[in-house]
């Protein structure tokens, strides 16, 4: 049933790509995550996640135009695919169903225990 395999970090990256919409390339994604999640991101780990998700079909990518900056090297822009969107939705739904399944008393207990 569950065809979507997504790690926690991958999910974050995928969401970030979705946030950045048309402007999602390596440096931007990294900075966006660091800004929003308030955590350091290793470029290697992020690139790995991007390539793997592209291979799985959650992401698509294309080169931007070559510019004189970056030593003439093109940027690779990532875009979330419909499949990727579905995966994200699936994860969101399952999380929500989990949240919903928690009996109210659990949190009450915690509160009362304080």
């Amino acid at each position: 049933m569950n065809n979507y395999q997504l790690g926690e970090f991958e999910e974050v990256v995928l969401l970030t790509v979705a946030i950045l919409n048309d402007d999602a390339y390596g440096v931007n994604i990294k900075q966006e995550i660091e800004m929003r999640m308030k955590r350091k991101v290793s470029t290697g780990a992020m690139q790995t996640a991007l390539r793997r998700m592209e291979a799985k079909g959650y992401l698509a990518s294309e080169f931007g135009e070559a510019t004189a900056v970056r030593g003439g090297k093109r940027k690779r822009y990532f875009k979330i695919t419909p499949f990727g969107v579905k995966a994200l939705e699936h994860y969101k739904e399952t999380r929500m169903s989990l949240w919903d399944a928690i009996p109210g008393a659990v949190f009450d207990l915690k509160v009362s225990g304080r």
């Binding site: 390339y25 440096v27 470029t43 290697g44 790995t48 390539r51 004189a68 090297k73 940027k75």
Partner: protein, 892 residues
């Protein structure tokens, strides 16, 4: 995010490194990202810190999903498909050209089979005496006897005297352990009502277990000789005495009795050793403390003797293998110390020490009185060379046949090349074919070797076995051999054929040089050299063996029976002889100490009256003891003087008969001059009463030297000249008579002509094995020749056709094909004969009497080779000659 201008550059090497490992699809944008980010860091901190950051990022990129795929793995897949294809094509080619495949299989498998057998034999020969922990420090004490000048070696003994071992241990600090082995009296071993007659109980010093490593099955080496009535036995002996279930009987501590010469002794078994391995130059089943023998003999003089009675196999262990030379050098001092001057000359002029490394004894020692038959290093070398030659010749065959098929495969190669096959893949294709062929011939080779193994074992007196599971080393080496053969045979055709010119090979033109000297001719020449050299060696070997067996040894060896006397019979030997002579079929009987075909006894001090003065004899003058019937029994001719007579036994003075060589060495111009001369031999004064003509007492390996025959009654055996007509009856009679005189011992006899031939057993063995392998080598070479001839004829078919059209006769055409071979054979003969001559004259030099290498022996191998070649050529050309030339000319 706006672009910034690139102002700063990360370290170049890190970029290169990144590009080296990163997947090409990702490299550009990731690097761009990194460089962009690098710009943020640079202005803020120092360049060094920014570089450090960059390098760390690059290192962080080395992740499986980002790096390049590992190239060899990718290529392997492709390769596997190609290899499948190579194998398929290879198998097709092998089945297509059935004749040459069969020839190759035959050649390679017989070559490898012979090689495997030879390798097993050589490995076995080389592994002798290496099972002892201290093998490198163990030496055998051997004694040299000189003729009074410290130089002229009169005899070299494998055994030492009883006193040598202990005294050498005492005198030389380098010698840490010493032991003697003395197989004394061959006693009967008795346990309960079981009696094992004539077992070889060996007395040894306690050091024996510290020198040699004899693993114990029961008991241990410390308690082995714990008291003077101990005995250690081998597993075999345990089985003989106690039966197969000896392990259940708790035999350590049990007593067995040994009995000899009427005396008996009870010994306690203190241990059971593993059987001594076959690859050891001595084998004993019973070891008992030397002290038993010492007490029994109770004669300190005999036990401390250092001057003769060489019956004690003596081994020492040194503290350092290098010390052997020092001990040998100390031999002079040793003998001078322990032996008084001999006739005014220091003892070291008569005696010398020689230490033989244990591991060399089997292959390199062949001196007087070796305990068992030793191997021979030259035999090992000869067989190794033959083994390698056989493999090489088989490989050359393959090369020749493979390249000679080229006409048939030219188009295939051309097509492959034009489609885009690289030279490498063509080489792989041809190598695959040779590998397939080798792999097929290997099981055949093992099968052949297994079939031949029992007869080789029986013949060489070995117990070799092919067992790949147990002998991993053998498995590895055979595997290596396979790889080597496949490479050796395949590499030349592969390189040669893959180098063909594409366009010309597609056109069907020969692209080979047609010059006379090329690598193939060299190969064929090599085969011819091997063949000619082997046939030549075989011819010389045969000629020499024939010479030996047909040469007149100077005595009559036919129908002479030699019987060794037991102690019981010795006491009543005259009655025994008379009883034998009563039979009409026993013509003569003589008592002797040694018989012709054996070794002479050692030289004793001698001197002779020349004129008025007593002159010491300064050459080796060994002796035998014989009675008055020796000369008639053995049909030896007298040169001058008379035979012994009966009464001389009891006479107080000595009577001597010398041979012509001795008379000459003493300085007498003729045999007559020696008669009635007074001489002293071995302390007995007497006179020479006769001179006999020279005869070969020892084998033809040694020259007929001076010898002397003395008369006393110290005989060991009786020789009987019998009538060959009723042979079996006569032998039965001799056996009956023996049984009448001695019930305890069984008779031990042999025929002199058999012992005569046994002297050359080593050579016989060598020649038979050599013949077998030589036939193989020649056979394999012939197969190769067939391939070569086929090649030449095929190449020349058009030429033959044109010549025939122009009116050439068949002989011309045969000559056309043959001339190249005749030329090759001449070159080969020029190389092979000197090599063969060099080796064979070296072998002949081991004989004092050699056949002369006549020109015929040189011509025979050449003629044989020429004949074989011509027959092959005829067989192949006849087809080409009788086919209508139009058939192969019209295709152009």
């Amino acid at each position: 995010m706006e672009d910034r201008k690139t102002k700063y550059y990360p370290p170049n090497w890190a970029t290169k490194w990144f590009l080296w490992f990163c997947h090409a699809d990702f490299a550009e944008d990731i690097l761009g990202d990194l460089e962009e980010e690098y710009q943020f860091h640079e202005p803020a901190v120092s360049k060094l810190m920014a570089d450090f950051w960059f390098v760390r990022q690059v290192a962080g990129m080395m992740r499986p999903s980002l790096i390049k795929p590992f190239l060899p793995f990718l290529k392997l897949n492709n390769k596997l498909d190609m290899i499948k294809n190579y194998i398929k094509i290879g198998l097709r080619n092998l089945t297509k050209y059935k004749v040459s495949t069969a020839i190759n299989l035959l050649g390679l498998s017989t070559g490898m089979a012979a090689f495997i057998l030879i390798a097993l034999f050589v490995k076995d020969e080389l592994s002798y005496d290496r099972n002892h922990e201290h093998a490198d420090e163990i030496f055998r004490i051997t004694i040299k006897n000189f003729s009074g000048d410290g130089e002229t070696l009169s005899r070299h003994w494998a055994f030492a005297s009883a006193g040598h071992g202990p005294r050498i241990k005492e005198d030389f600090p380098e010698v840490t352990h010493a032991t003697r082995f003395f197989p004394w009296a061959f006693p009967d071993v008795i346990y309960g009502d079981k009696r094992l007659p004539g077992e070889q109980v060996v007395f040894a010093d306690p050091d024996v277990f510290d020198i040699f490593t004899f693993p114990f099955l029961q008991g241990n080496k410390e308690s082995a000789f714990s008291n003077e009535t101990s005995m250690v036995i081998s597993e075999d002996a345990a089985i003989r005495i106690f039966g197969n279930d000896w392990r259940e009987q708790d035999i350590v501590g049990k007593n067995v009795k040994i009995e000899a010469r009427g005396a008996g002794l009870s010994l306690q078994i203190t241990g059971v050793m593993e059987n001594m391995p076959r690859q050891q130059h001595f084998h004993f089943d019973y070891l008992a403390p030397f002290a038993i023998y010492e007490n029994f003999v109770n004669n300190p003089d005999a036990i401390n003797n250092v001057t003769g009675n060489y019956n004690y196999l003596t081994y020492v262990r040194l503290n350092d293998a290098e010390a052997a030379t020092a001990v040998e050098a100390g031999g002079d001092t040793f003998f001078d110390k322990h032996i008084a001057d001999i006739r005014g000359v220091k003892a070291h002029n008569y005696y010398g020490l020689a230490l033989q490394p244990l591991t060399n004894i089997h292959l390199t020692s062949n001196i007087s009185g070796e305990i068992e038959n030793n191997g021979s290093l030259s035999q090992v070398v000869i067989f190794s060379v033959i083994g390698i030659l056989l493999i090489v010749v088989a490989c050359i065959n393959y090369m020749n046949l493979a390249t000679s098929r080229y006409t048939r495969r030219m188009k295939e190669i051309g097509v492959r090349k034009s489609i885009g096959a690289s030279r490498g893949s063509l080489i792989s294709q041809f190598l695959t074919e040779s590998v397939i062929l080798t792999l097929i011939s290997f099981p055949l080779a093992v099968g052949l070797a297994t079939i031949a193994l029992p007869s080789v074992n029986a013949f060489m007196d070995k117990q070799l076995s092919i067992n790949f599971l147990q002998d991993f080393g053998l498995f590895l080496s055979v595997f290596g051999l396979l790889a080597l053969v496949a490479m050796l045979a395949g590499i030349y055709p592969a390189i040669y054929l893959s180098g063909l010119d594409t366009i010309r090979s597609l056109k069907g033109e020969s692209t080979f040089r047609t010059g006379k000297v090329n690598f193939r001719s060299v190969l064929v020449t090599f085969q011819y050299v091997v063949t000619i050299a082997i046939i030549f060696s075989l011819a010389v070997l045969n000629a020499q063996m024939g010479f030996i067996f047909n040469s007149d040894p100077g005595f009559d060896k036919e129908s002479v029976l030699d019987v060794s006397l037991s102690n019981d019979i010795y006491g009543k030997k005259d009655a025994f002889r008379n009883e034998l002579l009563a039979n009409q079929n026993i013509i003569h009987a003589t008592f002797v100490s040694r018989i012709p075909t054996g070794n002479l006894l050692d030289s004793q001090g001698a001197s002779i009256f020349l004129g008025d003065s007593l002159t010491p004899v300064n050459f080796r003058l060994p002796y035998i003891v014989a009675d008055e019937n020796f000369i008639t029994t053995y049909g030896i001719e007298m040169a001058a003087g008379n035979d012994f007579e009966r009464y001389m036994d009891s006479d107080s003075i000595g009577y001597f008969i010398v041979n012509e060589a001795a008379a000459k060495a003493m300085g007498f111009p003729s045999a007559e001059d020696a008669i009635n001369r007074s001489m002293n031999y071995g302390g007995t004064d007497g006179k020479i009463i006769g001179v006999m003509k020279d005869f070969h007492f020892e084998s033809l390996h040694s020259e007929i030297g001076p010898m002397i025959m003395v008369k006393n009654d110290n005989y060991r055996r009786i020789s009987l000249k019998i009538n060959p007509v009723n042979l079996s009856e006569t032998i039965a009679f001799v056996e009956q008579t023996w049984a009448k005189f001695d019930q305890k011992n069984t008779i031990n006899y042999n025929f002199v002509d058999e012992s005569f031939e046994n002297q050359y057993q080593g050579e016989e063995r060598l020649s038979t094995m050599f013949k077998a392998f030589a036939v193989l080598a020649v056979l394999i070479s012939c197969l190769g020749m067939l391939g070569m001839v086929t090649f030449i004829v095929e190449r020349k078919t058009k030429e033959i056709g044109i010549r025939k059209v122009l009116g050439a006769k068949s002989p011309h055409i045969v000559w056309l094909v043959s001339q190249n071979f005749i030329w090759l054979i001449s070159v080969s003969a020029l190389v092979a004969l000197p090599i063969g001559y060099y080796f064979m004259s070296g072998w002949l030099d081991t004989f004092a009497y050699q056949v002369t290498i006549s020109p015929v022996l040189f011509v025979v191998p050449i003629l044989a080779v020429v004949l074989i070649t011509l027959l092959t050529i005829l067989y192949r050309t006849i087809k080409a000659v009788y086919i209508n030339p139009v058939k192969y000319l019209r295709s152009e």
